[in-house]
Symmetry: C7
Subunit: 82 residues, 7 copies
């Protein structure tokens, strides 16, 4: 969904991902799961590679240790530096 006329703000949303490289973030997914881990890379589709990723259930309890994962951007609701 491109809107060529939009007035872009000085700071852009993806800058937050850029600043989070190498740091711990929490990613909330559409299926009520969350993934916590360190961002090592991302692309323009919000595909994200995380290191030391852990899957949390909806109450924040550790559900599974995932290690390195490539997360598809399309399933993400939000990303939050922790």
């Amino acid at each position: 969904m491109m809107n060529a006329n939009v007035n872009f703000t000085q700071e852009r949303p993806f800058d937050l991902l850029n600043k989070s490289i190498g740091k711990q973030v929490l990613v909330r997914l559409k299926n009520n799961l969350s993934i916590r881990g360190k961002i090592t890379s991302f692309d323009a589709h919000m595909n994200i590679v995380m290191d030391g990723a852990e899957e949390l259930d909806s109450s924040g309890e550790l559900k599974a240790k995932l290690g390195i994962i490539l997360l598809r951007g399309g399933n993400i609701i939000f990303v939050s530096p922790t």
Copy 2:
């Protein structure tokens, strides 16, 4: 979904986001959750970075303090300045 022939109105919808930079908004999401916080940036996909974000349940009660988040535009139903 582009419609090249549409008569654009003088004021455009994204102007509301522009005017809301630095201000508190309420974002309603598809999964019945709402996020309240201050918009710090947005892009043409309605991806929004919020500061001091709080997650509210469907009755408006505080569910979790999220801090800084990058919210994917695709999950948004509406954004409302508060």
Copy 3:
């Protein structure tokens, strides 16, 4: 979904939105909610800014006063001038 060969009608669907600027409309959303308010702007994705917006439940009862909102076009089923 573009179909370059389609015979466009003289009057086009978005003309209805154009004529509704400044007027009260009812917007039905995918999640069974409706929003009633005055359209102040829209774009080619059917993103709509409304003023004095009110959220109605599925039986048409007032559920919440929203004030000014930017509604994402992707969640809309129909827009109806009232």
Copy 4:
């Protein structure tokens, strides 16, 4: 989803909408509702403006009189002249 190599048939699907301008149609939507009314315009996304629109429940009973509506094409399952 474009397929440049497809052999288009002489008559094209949107011709049916063109021939239905000013006539009564039944539109079946994804959420099990149907809308009956007169088509006044449409575009290449199958967005349709209807006049005298009536919402019918899944058993075909009148549920609400809607008047003029702009229906988003993305929610349509089929359109049928009546």
Copy 5:
């Protein structure tokens, strides 16, 4: 979803629709319904116009006579000549 490097087969999927013009087909839809009728036209989005269309429930029983319909391609699971 285009993949420019794919080795296209001699015969292409849409050829089946082309050969089915004027013939009876069964169309299975995402909402567990099926439509049976004669294809009169189609386009590259798999939008299909059918004549003498009948809606069948999930056990194949006749549910409604629809007559002429324009079916949106996006809801189709498969099309089968009968």
Copy 6:
């Protein structure tokens, strides 16, 4: 979702479909159904024409003989040569 910078592997995923032309495959669909049959053609959207297609329920039991079908790629989870 194109990513122009990706390092493509020598062998590409669609090669598997190419090698499966004329052979039996199992196709798992989003609605928990599976289709078994012989691929006769496919395109870049993973639309697939199958011959002698059979619909299987979630436990693998034969549910219906479908014959020739054009399956829309968008509903496919995976394709497996059998």
Copy 7:
């Protein structure tokens, strides 16, 4: 969803798939299933061919041996080298 202005990180998410060619990965799908197997190829849509693929239920138990499969990228939540 392209964002031309994003500052790409040195390392890109698809590099993880590239480094996983010939190795075992776990793929989590939207329908709560997981597939374990060896990646033999992938493309820019995250379509993946796996060898020796096994379907696991939500508790990680082996549900079915699938052999070679072509998995559509659109159903993937994440890919994890094991």
